[in-house]
């Protein structure tokens, strides 16, 4: 075979690989769109988005998605309360205080933490964190939003830390020197110069973290319960959008029914939310790159 033929084949194979993932994504969006459309022909979109009861699997079917959104938001908010400050502070430490060799050790370890299968975190929340929290809060249900929220925060913290640290490392050394030369301490330099200068990068990290929390599935499916409930109370069982999709997928809901189509509608909503957040995050990071090119 001539070199040119070989090159031609290699090029086509590579193109095929690239196209495969693009086509898969397009296919997923297509299926989501078609099924969602079918769902919305039965349930008016306004009822879906503003209804306060979600009981598609009961005989008195109600399709108000707000309880699922509330559950997702509640768990995500708890996770963010843990992940954002801890992630940012650990990034400040790693970027501004830690000696180089310590950073070289700690950062990969943090990133490994992000690679632990989420099902492990789920059982960690259900069988360890929840009983522990029940010692403190006796009213806490076995399934609740608090425990998976906290564990999810721990899981996402390394992501926030790593991305924020990258953003801070991209701040030119000259800015730090300028600050030190004016008699600033390390903390003043970190908080008043480096963090503001890395602001868009850090914001991008935060948004990515929120999007990760909203899409996180296993932890909440295992430890948060399966009771769609429009509440801000973290002590009682709730259900998130992702956990609902798992519940229906694992059950014996027949294809083509309205119950079955709900998971596509919820999935579409989830997709729009995380996709929007990722877009904002990418845009912010691009902007950041321009500032200190």
């Amino acid at each position: 075979m001539s070199t040119r033929t070989l090159e031609w084949i290699v090029e086509r194979v590579l193109l095929l690989c690239a196209l495969l993932s693009v086509l898969t994504t397009a296919g997923i969006i297509g299926v989501l769109a078609v099924e969602t459309f079918a769902f919305l022909r039965v349930v008016p979109v306004l009822d879906f988005l503003t209804g306060t009861e979600w009981t598609p699997l009961f005989s008195s079917q109600k399709f108000g998605v707000l309880p699922l959104i509330a559950g997702t938001m509640l768990v995500s908010a708890i996770a963010m309360v843990v992940a954002l400050p801890m992630g940012l502070l650990s990034a400040v430490y790693l970027s501004e205080y830690a000696p180089n060799n310590l950073r070289r050790v700690v950062k990969p370890i943090l990133e490994i933490l992000a690679g632990v299968p989420t099902v492990v975190y789920g059982y960690f929340a259900l069988t360890f964190v929840t009983p522990m929290l029940q010692q403190v809060f006796p009213t806490l249900s076995g399934f609740n939003a608090l425990s998976p929220g906290l564990v999810m925060g721990l899981m996402i913290m390394p992501l926030v830390s790593s991305l924020s640290e990258d953003a801070m490392q991209a701040v030119p050394r000259g800015l730090r020197e300028g600050s030190y030369a004016l008699g600033a301490t390390r903390m003043q330099t970190a908080l008043k110069v480096v963090v503001p200068a890395a602001f868009s990068g850090i914001t991008a990290a935060f948004i990515l973290a929120v999007s990760r929390a909203i899409g996180e599935t296993m932890i909440v499916a295992i430890a948060a319960g399966q009771q769609p409930r429009l509440t801000g109370n973290p002590f009682v069982p709730i259900e998130t959008m992702t956990a609902y999709i798992v519940q229906v997928s694992l059950g014996d809901t027949p294809q083509g029914t309205i119950e079955y189509r709900t998971i596509f509608a919820v999935g579409m909503l989830l997709f729009v939310m995380t996709f929007g957040l990722n877009l904002i995050s990418t845009w912010l990071r691009e902007r950041f790159r321009e500032e200190y090119a």
Binding site: E177, S179, L182, G183, A184, K192
Partner: protein
């Protein structure tokens, strides 16, 4: 000193120190502000400064010249302990500022840097407004009590750095929108705001065009009335124009230190002469 081996200095440099614009003669008997004795500096095991001893006098401009990597910037940064933030470095010898050693463990580096300001080669305004750039040092050091006082000090600093007229109507705009020369003058204003006694300038004009460079040089003439200035420069003409005394560094050693006119017209060392006339380095 070996008089015989000295060669004539080219005319292009010979007259240059006499061309200063109506300056009062420099006070070479001014009190010693910075006294350095036997200073060695190491990056890891590499020795970057070798036995530097020098006395820098008040309200004079001292220029540090020499080829790249000769240690002049490193030396400058030992005077406000800026090298402390570089890991794995070590200092030996003494540096006295107003007869106080700055490398003793009880010395507060923050206090030291407040007294010894610094302007960098690459202008480094913070990505904040023009006003906030100048206010930063005042705020973090708690030097002002009221908003009016803060605004007064910011204006005063911008005026001293000869940039007030250009920015007074746009103080809330981002400092990054200024031109390179303006950014550098803003950085000088920022350094002056906390009223240092000594101003270190690390090639402050090397990235600027000739007009912006001239403005910085004119500024240096003005500033030396109030500050002791140490300036690193690669530009011989600049050293000759702005400084009263010049120190020539070579491979981490201080080869010669004298009045600027002597260094450029009748240097004692042949190495100095070769360097200032462009025969080496």
């Amino acid at each position: 000193m070996n008089v015989e081996r000295r060669r004539p200095v080219p005319a292009s440099l010979a007259g240059v120190t006499t061309s200063r614009r109506g300056q009062s003669p420099a006070a070479f008997d001014a009190p010693v502000k910075v006294a350095v004795d036997g200073l060695n500096f190491y990056y890891g095991t590499k020795r970057a400064l070798d036995g530097i001893s020098i006395q820098i006098r008040s309200n004079l401009v001292t220029a540090l010249i020499g080829p790249s990597g000769c240690g002049k910037s490193t030396f400058l940064r030992t005077l406000n302990r800026m090298n402390d933030i570089i890991p794995d470095t070590r200092v030996e010898g003494t540096v006295l500022i107003d007869d106080q050693s700055i490398y003793e463990s009880r010395v507060d580096v923050v206090q030291l840097r407040r007294r010894v300001g610094m302007v960098f080669q690459k202008s480094n305004p913070f990505p904040k407004s023009i006003f906030e750039n100048v206010a930063y040092g005042l705020r973090i050091n708690g030097l002002v009590k009221t908003r009016a006082e803060l605004e007064g000090r910011v204006e005063e600093s911008l005026q001293q750095a000869a940039i007030w007229e250009e920015v007074k109507d746009r103080l809330q705009e981002s400092a990054l929108a200024l031109s390179g020369g303006q950014q550098q003058r803003l950085c000088i204003a920022r350094a002056l705001a906390i009223r240092p006694e000594i101003l270190l300038m690390d090639e402050p004009a090397s990235a600027l065009d000739p007009i912006a460079t001239q403005r910085i040089e004119e500024l240096i003439y003005e500033l030396k009335k109030k500050y002791t200035i140490v300036i690193v420069t690669h530009n011989m003409q600049q050293a000759a124009r702005v400084s009263d005394q010049t120190a020539f560094f070579w491979l981490g050693r201080l080869v010669e230190f004298d009045r600027t006119d002597k260094i450029f017209t009748a240097p004692a060392e042949k190495l100095t002469e070769d360097y200032v006339t462009g025969r080496c380095g």
